[in-house]
């Protein structure tokens, strides 16, 4: 079996000491894979993502990312460790008082202080071109460009520091079918652009997950119901999974 990028072991999380949002979750995400975490709304997908990013601490259990135990890190170390991550948020989460180019330069100005301004602009421009954004938009504010371009800018910003792991939280939720297809393609292209990069996509779009992901983890009630290559989900005898798949595929 290949190397593991993210290892979750018996992770539990409760916010109110009563109900467990994550309830004994085990998951191994292989390095270099494009893995989709799927499940219906409210099953704890975003909460798990935030655990992997070190924004939440588990109530119990073990989380290893790139071989490092997150429980052993203090907040400052975690902040530093996140340089290895790039995240594309659902709403793109661009800084609305900065231009497109400034948004992509921002992570560089925070973590690559040795670079000159010219070098930062060069790297940022390259990332923006990689995700297919024309240079005529570079000096516009996020509010002046379309939703699709905002997604591209958000992805370029996530790529700025050449992260080891790329995360997408619901990248296509709320988008029209054409934009959805564009973003799905962008995810695949970005994944193949650099070998070795691990991509983790959280989604409730089952159809897209099965189409583009190498591995799929299906969540239910704070646990992984089934993990494997997409084929596995259509061959399984597990009644719950079959119902999930049938329902999810019909919806989209």
């Amino acid at each position: 079996m290949s190397e593991i990028a993210i290892h979750l072991e018996d992770v539990r999380k409760t916010f109110d000491e009563k109900e467990y949002v994550v309830n004994g979750l085990n998951l191994d995400i292989p390095k270099g894979s494009l893995t989709a975490i799927i499940g219906f709304s409210g099953t704890g997908k975003s909460v798990i993502l935030k655990h992997i990013l070190g924004l939440y601490r588990p109530t119990s259990g073990r989380i290893e990312v790139l071989g490092e135990d997150l429980n052993k890190m203090d907040n400052d170390q975690l902040t530093d460790f996140r340089k290895n991550f790039g995240v594309l948020f659902q709403g793109s989460a661009l800084f609305d008082d900065m231009t497109v180019l400034e948004n992509v330069c921002f992570p560089l100005s925070e973590h690559r202080r040795e670079l000159s301004e010219g070098q930062m602009v060069e790297i940022a421009s390259r990332k923006l071109q990689q995700v297919g954004l024309d240079s005529k938009h570079f000096d516009k504010l996020p509010s002046q460009i379309s939703g699709g371009m905002q997604k591209r800018t958000g992805l370029a910003r996530a790529l700025a520091l050449d992260p080891e792991i790329l995360f997408y939280d619901e990248p296509t939720t709320g988008l029209d079918p054409i934009l959805t297809e564009m973003v799905d393609n962008l995810i695949v292209e970005t994944h193949h652009h650099r070998t070795g990069i691990t991509s983790v996509m959280v989604s409730h779009d089952l159809e897209a997950a099965f189409r583009i992901a190498d591995f799929v983890a299906m969540l239910n009630a704070g646990q992984v119901l089934l993990f494997g290559k997409p084929e596995v989900f259509f061959e399984t005898d597990n009644e719950l999974v079959r119902r999930f798949v049938a329902k999810g595929m019909k919806k989209t």
Partner: protein
């Protein structure tokens, strides 16, 4: 009979419980605000230093408030001096209008009104801005980019407010005295010599600094409260409105309550060093 007594005891217990819960809620909230602000200030000494951010926010809090402070200062001076003039005329003490207005403005009205106005304008904007950043996941984005959000977003705003408040208060004081002078000398035709009489030997530099000290404290408090409210916004656009509203209201109440305690603190300080308050 006994039933009624029990129900009264229940009610009193209920009230005590309500009081207890409100107090614990209040204390724990104030506690987390203090931790929040001191955390931000502690982190501000770690590299990278965010002085460019401080300058940016200082421009907004300071420069951005000058016009409104000039306007309100001048009209406060006009209004207050007229009432004091009317009162003192009754006892033939119009020569005391100048010093009375000067002391009242520099020690109380200057810092308090400046605090209220700047809390509403700049504090409200801080809460709204941070609230928007929170609900649009911009703060999460900063977090996952490895940026310390308290250091980057909170500390510069607190420093900016602390630095801008005494300067704005000085402007308010000056404009208010100008307003008072205009009313007394130009409108009710008091002799300028009578107006300025004793202002110079009554008003000491330390009175000005009392006001500046107060306004500095007010700046720290409204910035801490409003940034806390904005930073902890939840629940979309509606949540941003609520956070802004709560931030501004709590800041205003805090400024007025705090003013009383600060006045007393200063009085005790003077007594302790053997000066007349």
């Amino acid at each position: 009979m006994s039933d009624r007594r029990v129900s009264w005891i229940d009610r009193i217990n209920g009230l005590i419980e309500l009081f207890e819960n409100t107090m614990t809620g209040f204390v724990s909230e104030v506690g987390s605000m203090v931790v929040f602000a001191t955390d931000a200030l502690r982190l501000s000494f770690k590299p990278p230093l965010r002085y460019l951010e401080v300058i940016k926010h200082f421009e907004f809090v300071g420069n951005g408030s000058v016009m409104i402070i000039c306007l309100t200062g001048a009209f406060t001076g006009l209004a207050v001096s007229y009432q004091i003039y009317l009162g003192f005329k009754m006892v033939n003490a119009v020569n005391l209008v100048g010093p009375t207005v000067a002391l009242g403005i520099t020690r109380e009205l200057g810092p308090v009104l400046t605090g209220l106005i700047v809390a509403a304008r700049a504090g409200g904007a801080m809460a709204a801005r941070l609230g928007t950043m929170r609900v649009n996941e911009q703060i999460d984005a900063l977090d996952v980019m490895g940026v310390n959000t308290k250091q980057y977003l909170i500390a510069p705003r607190i420093y900016a407010a602390v630095a801008a408040m005494p300067l704005l208060t000085a402007i308010f004081d000056a404009m208010a005295m100008l307003g008072a002078w205009f009313l007394c000398v130009k409108l009710v035709e008091l002799d300028p010599a009578v107006f300025w009489d004793k202002v110079q030997n009554t008003l000491k530099v330390r009175h000005l600094f009392e006001g500046f000290f107060k306004s500095t404290v007010f700046g720290a408090f409204f910035a801490a409260i409003c940034t806390y409210r904005g930073f902890h916004t939840s629940g979309g656009a509606k949540g941003v409105g609520e956070a802004t509203n709560r931030g501004v209201v709590q800041s205003m109440v805090m400024i007025i309550v705090l003013d009383y305690f600060l006045t007393n603190m200063i009085r005790i300080f003077y007594l302790a060093i053997g000066a007349t308050p």
